[in-house]
Amino acid sequence: MLTTADLDTLFLTFKVASISTSLMLLFGTPLAWWLARTTSSWKGFINAIVALPLVLPPTVLGFYLLVIMGPTGLIGELTTWLGMGTLPFTFAGLVIASVLYSMPFVVQPLQGAFTSICEQSLEAAATLRASPLDTFFSVVVPLAKPGFLTATILGFTHTVGEFGVVLMIGGNIPDKTRVVSVQIYNHVEALEYNEAHWLAGCLLLFSFTVLIILYTVLKNQPNLQQLK
């Protein structure tokens, strides 16, 4: 059965994932919009930076974060100067790492959805004197709904499955950085296969259910099949 400690890790994991996903949508939406519309020569560069966590081993990302967020690192010196202390081994540090790590899973579906919106519908809204913000919320968001759905679900589930980065900067602190993937790893290392099975089973069931929902909903969006 799941112990209280296991339940705590599940709860913490969902907390990290919820906060990170909200932040990713907040920052990722304008970024994806810019990437979808711009003709700037920076586009390739920014696209590459966003996609980097897709191809980098999480340990590389975790190692760099540990060094630059540490007391002698650039970000570490900044956060210390701001009176926040250093970020490794803290909940905030974990959220920041998750945002960087899962960002491509939010930006890329949104970028795809924004790119497929034709210029005419935006121009039509403009001729009806809609402000850019109004256009965004009453034209773009409804049209890009499947993109937002995909982005949210992929961003969330990918953060839930995060392991390497947390291992590098987490420090395995209960209720702060001990997430479920690390807990499963610890159970296996401690030869507690029973406990490992329970948690691993929960995660498998969760991921599978979420993906089924995602694909079922997307299937019922006939106009936007290409986003699947």
Partner: protein
Amino acid sequence: MPATIISRTAITLALLLFGQTSWSATVLVAVAANFSKPMTEIVSQFEKATGHSAKLSFGSSGKFVSQLENGGPFEVLLSADEKGPEKLEQAGLTVPNTRFVYALGKLVLWSATPNFVDNEGKILMTSNFKHLALADPKVAPYGAAAIDVLKKLKLFERLQPLLVQGENIAQTYQFISTANAELGFLALSQVIENGKIVGGSSWIIPDNLHAPIRQGAVLMKIGAENPAARALIDYLKSIPALAIIKKYGYDLAK
């Protein structure tokens, strides 16, 4: 003509694939992270002395035992404790009578900052630090020993909120060497180079503050027929190997 070519090719291939095993073999070894430096040195001597070669994997003992229970390919295990090898022996996965203690571990309290840790560990009584690193006590013997020390000094309750755990002792070193944790408990061997403690400041923990760290080695059944595996087990008990083990701060089993 084609027949000769085929047979010649077959002989060449056979020589390439199997030829080496007859006179020099390779052994795959799982090594507890704390023993990585001495083992690297021992193996380079071993290879010169015997002509065999050894491939080393470093990690936490718990993970290796888990992998070996599930068909892991390692022929020799150098664990950080006796429990892992015993467990594998009980499961009938090891060669009988090959289990032995190759080193007694030494624990050190270390900081990357010079003059931070005093040689009596008084720093632990102060509030001059935010993070105290140790290896996960559940799976790493050096972590468990560190908890022993804190409990013996009656500091565990107060310091528990400051503890950060590395997955193994090598990762714990990373936390401390990058100064993310101001200080922490490590294996003495990790901070020794050329027989001396390098960098920062340290306190070598007296043995009476924790249960002894008896590090066990064992020959696995899959390595029973490998001459290099047997030779390595023997070499670990040889005088040159024992000298290296001592140089890295370990005590020898009596």
